[in-house]
């Protein structure tokens, strides 16, 4: 039989809070982005290729972000370094997409600028907390 040792909790509460709020914020952000793309598509002179590129990248953003938040939450709760490191890896393309929507897309509205800046602040905080949590998990892995 296995002797049960006393186990201190290593998962990071600030990271869990940030991820929970990030889920809600990303839902509101995505809804706002879809409405703004409808507004921009009707009002502004878009070349068709650019509009299709922006919309496809938006769909990709949804997929990547859902994946990232799921792996970060589960990896932190189960204290598994593999899931947490995968979520940190997926954070990099998500940050690239966020910077694209902030600076590089065809037409940037002021509201989009502000919303993407807030999302970037979330990403920076989550990156720091994820790396800290990851180092705690990998340091104390019992083999």
């Amino acid at each position: 039989w296995v002797k049960c040792l006393k186990h201190t909790i290593l998962s990071s509460t600030p990271l869990q809070i940030l991820l929970h709020l990030n889920k809600w914020y990303f839902a509101a952000f995505y809804l706002a982005e879809i409405l703004m793309f409808i507004y921009k598509g009707i009002l502004l002179p878009y070349p068709t290729d650019n509009l299709i590129l922006d919309v496809v990248l938006l769909v990709l953003f949804l997929g990547l972000e859902t994946l990232r938040i799921f792996y970060a939450e589960k990896g932190d709760l189960c204290e598994r370094p593999l899931s947490s490191s995968m979520s940190v890896l997926v954070l990099f393309p998500c940050t690239a997409l966020c910077v694209y929507y902030l600076l590089l897309q065809t037409f940037v509205l002021r509201l989009e600028f502000i919303l993407n800046t807030i999302l970037l602040v979330f990403y920076c905080a989550e990156f720091v907390l994820s790396v800290l949590a990851l180092s705690m998990f990998s340091r104390s892995r019992v083999y």
Binding site: L21, W24, Y25, A28, R110, I118
Partner: protein, 140 residues
């Protein structure tokens, strides 16, 4: 405590909505400043009204910092009354400031919105800070 689990994201989203609108007004305050001035105005009058509006907006951002500090440090995250007050006040501030921005209301209205919808939750937040850190009350 299932009510709390829906209060916390609602409170966070209304605070962020209010913050986004305040930053938008900061960025495009030109038409609102012109609404405060008479039809014929000098550059000094414009700059004086502009400075007053900038001061009001900066005070709002400072009060936001106080409230977000209280929220994220856990002092008032799970306090139901402060959560409800915050949701109500910030939601009404968002709507009022949207009207302020789009209908180009004059500057004096902004001070009322500031007093009711930014100063009030920040004062309650400071009271909670004192209660938790000073009197060691549990942040339920």
């Amino acid at each position: 405590m299932s009510a709390v689990s829906s209060l916390v994201p609602a409170r966070f989203l209304t605070i962020i909505a209010h913050l986004v609108i305040v930053i938008t007004i900061f960025w495009s305050r030109d038409s609102n400043v012109k609404a405060c001035l008479p039809l014929e105005y000098t550059q000094e009058q414009y700059e004086e009204e502009d400075k007053k509006l900038v001061v009001g907006l900066s005070v709002t951002l400072g009060l936001f910092a106080i409230e977000l500090a209280g929220f994220f440090s856990g002092v008032s995250m799970f306090n139901c009354s402060q959560g409800l007050l915050s949701i109500g006040v910030h939601a009404s501030a968002s709507v009022a400031l949207l009207f302020y921005l789009f209908e180009q209301w004059e500057c004096s209205v902004y001070w009322w919105i500031l007093a009711i919808c930014s100063v009030l939750p920040a004062c309650v937040e400071i009271t909670l800070f004192i209660a938790v850190f000073g009197f060691k009350k549990k942040a339920s």
